[in-house]
Amino acid sequence: MRTDFGLLLKRFAFSFWFILALVSVGVIVTLILQPESVPDGALRTGGTILMVAAFATFALNFFTTELQPQLGQYILSLLFLFLAGVVLLFFPRQGLVLPNFEGDITPSLVTLSLFFIVAIGSGWVGFLLVKESPALNSQAAVKYFTALSVLVPLAVLAFFIAYTVSEGSAVISWRFISQRSDLLRGTVGIYPAIMGTFWLIIGATLFAVPIGVGAAVFLTEYARRKWIKQLVGITADCLWSTPSIVFGLFGYIFLVPRITGHSTLLAGQIILAAMLLPLTIATSTEALMSVPDEFRSGSLALGSSKWWTIRTVVLPSAIPSIVTGVLLGIGRIAGETAPIMLIAVMSHTSAPNFFSLEAPYFHIGPLFREIDALPYRLYSIYKAGVGGSIQEAWGTAMVLIALVLLFYGLGITVRSYFRRKRGW
């Protein structure tokens, strides 16, 4: 009987809270739709009431339960407090709005719906969470809040991508990606940047993949001592987490003076390869270790040498996973700006042109010249002051995101395709 009473009180507290949440949402909606009709003082009062309600919920939960204190309810109360704080903090100044780029302030559906979702959602969950036993209560609360902490970042990601696409799709056209920007002819395009990024990726992959896969083969097939594996693991990890600007500085003081003395495509390729290398080593090591030992013993039993076994049996069966890892890695380095900023790029250079229709057909000259690259294009538009070429910036950002999504999509497709196909 006593537990039932406590449960009743809790239900009461949550309904109280839920009604208040509804009221606050009403206030917020009114405020956004008709800011003049709500006086400033009313908002402060409303915020204070919300705060008091939060404390009341908190206290009720604390005193009414002879059961254990329950994490979920505390967090809910705190969330409520947070809501009240937001109301108190933001509203005295002006309506809760997101600015669009032109600078005029318009009420935004995003903000509105966000608040609606938070208030209604958490109120509803409050009801759902009240279960017969405290253990189940906290289980439900934790499940909800951990799910929320997956959802929130994904929502942010989706919002960013959607926003970029909605702004950028107006600019993207065949012309935009196949021409270069030219003030005299009045054209806007990012072809040189696309080609620059393309050659950066190609070069980085050509440098990093053989070395990275080779290192992984040595570690998994040849290295006997454990400390060698650990040492390479640690150095690869350190290289992976080295800040990208440090790579840029290193290229600036080490590579640039040793190549031509100014920014070059080659320097950019090498530095990006150094950034791609640790990921290649890590994923290839994992891929090679997952090849079953029976494959190796089978081949060795037939009398083939160790290297022959690696070449014909081990590597081919590990290739899909390696490809996946490399594709994901390329997705990451394609957007790197800080390292190439100092060593490879110059604004408004033309696309590197390796091939020609005449005699040598192939030139290595562009390797030793500056390039333009997509991420740098975006940064240099930002640096020049966004106002003028905001359209171009959104277009570039969208192409960049599309590129990253493409490589991720490819990687994941390869992974799932081969995972289904292989028998072990």
């Binding site: 933001f90 100044r93 002006q94 809760l96 600015p99 780029f101 302030i105 253990a135 906290s138 289980q139 934790v142 499940k143 951990t146 929320l148 902490s149 997956v150 970042p153 994904l154 942010v156 990601l157 960013f160 926003y163 970029t164 070395i211 896969v213 080779g214 290192a215 083969v217 040595f218 097939e221 040849y222 390479v232 640690i234 150095t235 350190c238 987490s241 080295t242 800040p243 600007i245 440090v246 500085l249 290193f250 600036y252 003081i253 040793r258 150094a274 290398l277 040498s305 957007g335 790197e336 800080a338 900023m341 991420p375 975006l378 940064y379 930002y382 950002a397 960049l400 995101i401 990253v404």
Partner: protein, 340 residues
């Protein structure tokens, strides 16, 4: 007889490749020139070796490849040290804790930037740590298998969006929004990059923490469940304590990521190389170590370059310590469960 000769030939070939390669690298690194002859000797040697002794040559090449990561790391460390150390040598205490960075008066100290980095990183950790670990618990323990295979790459994608795109979006959306909400006259407050960096560091924390949670043997949790506790109680009492060191490693790695993040911070901070006043005012424009380097290295000359290299060295060293610590914790955790 023939065997002996061939062994000697192998030795000679190997030695000549190794020596010419070492010579080539030394000349490249120290004398800054590309010695084509030594390079050709090494290439031809490898080619010959591949024809006559494929197995041994392959092994040697693979060994060389495995030293590459270490070699690059070592080169970065050495060259940054050579160029960055002079800035520390002059007056290390002032360089690290003074309050002035003034290019016109040639006075350089990193105090405000170190403080700025701390503020931004701290803010980012406040967002990334609870959410990242929460997401790891959900993905690792609560999500059904099909959802898990969707959520994992989706969270990874969050780390894949280029940092310059984050910076641009943050600059256009968040900086403006914060400026308008709080009626602040100038842009580039600390709080904006903190929030964006929180989401950028989150995937690192989630994936490493999820690995740690995954590494805890399932039978331990099953045992608890058999006693009649709820799923969450089993996770709280069994899995999380065992994975706690791995989660710590994840947090350290996340902090390192946030600390080293460059472009987003550079685009969203206000580049004011002074301490905020009051010291904890996150609504004031500022500068971090990374954004200082990124925004000034292009135009710097003389002592300013030294100071920026010093900043790079400091950054490199801190992140190196953080990631090594994290790695050691991780491998200790793995070893523990492999034994047990």
């Amino acid at each position: 007889m023939l065997n002996k000769i061939s062994i000697n030939l192998k030795l000679i070939l190997g030695l000549s490749i190794v020596l010419s390669l070492i010579g080539f690298l030394l000349i490249f690194v120290l004398a800054k020139s590309f010695n084509i002859y030594l390079f050709l000797i090494a290439i031809i040697g490898v080619f010959l070796g591949w024809i006559f002794y494929e197995d041994e040559t392959a092994k040697a090449l693979l060994f060389a490849a495995s030293t590459s990561a270490g070699a690059i790391l070592l080169l970065i460390a050495i060259f940054l040290f050579i160029r960055g150390f002079p800035a520390f040598q002059r007056d290390p205490i002032f360089f690290l804790s003074g309050s002035t960075w003034n290019v016109y008066r040639d006075i350089y100290s990193l105090g405000p930037m170190i403080w700025g980095s701390l503020i931004v990183t701290f803010g980012a950790t406040l967002i990334a740590a609870p959410m990242g670990v929460g997401a790891a618990i959900y993905i690792g323990k609560f999500a059904p298998e099909w959802l898990r295979s969707v959520l994992k790459p989706a969270i990874e994608l969050l780390a894949g969006i280029p940092s310059v795109v984050y910076g641009f979006l943050g600059f256009i959306l968040l900086n403006r929004a914060i400026m308008d909400y709080f009626a602040i006259p100038n842009m580039g407050q600390f709080i904006a990059p903190s929030i964006i960096l929180g989401f950028m560091a989150l995937p690192t924390i989630t994936s490493v923490a999820e690995d740690a949670i995954d590494a805890v043997p399932e039978h331990l949790e099953k045992g608890a469940l058999a006693l009649g506790v709820t799923e969450w109680q089993a996770i709280k009492e069994v899995t999380l304590p065992l994975a706690s060191s791995g989660i710590t490693a994840a947090l350290i790695l996340g902090i390192g990521r946030a600390l080293g993040e460059t472009m987003a911070v550079t685009m969203m901070l206000g580049h004011k190389t002074k301490y905020p006043s009051p010291l904890f005012d996150i609504f004031e424009p500022g500068e971090s170590l990374t954004s200082l380097i990124a925004s000034q290295i292009g135009e710097a000359s003389g002592q300013a370059v030294d100071a920026l290299m010093g900043a790079g060295l400091l950054l490199f060293f801190i992140v190196l310590v953080l990631s090594t610590t994290s790695r050691i914790i991780q491998s200790r955790l793995q070893r523990r469960f492999r034994r047990g």
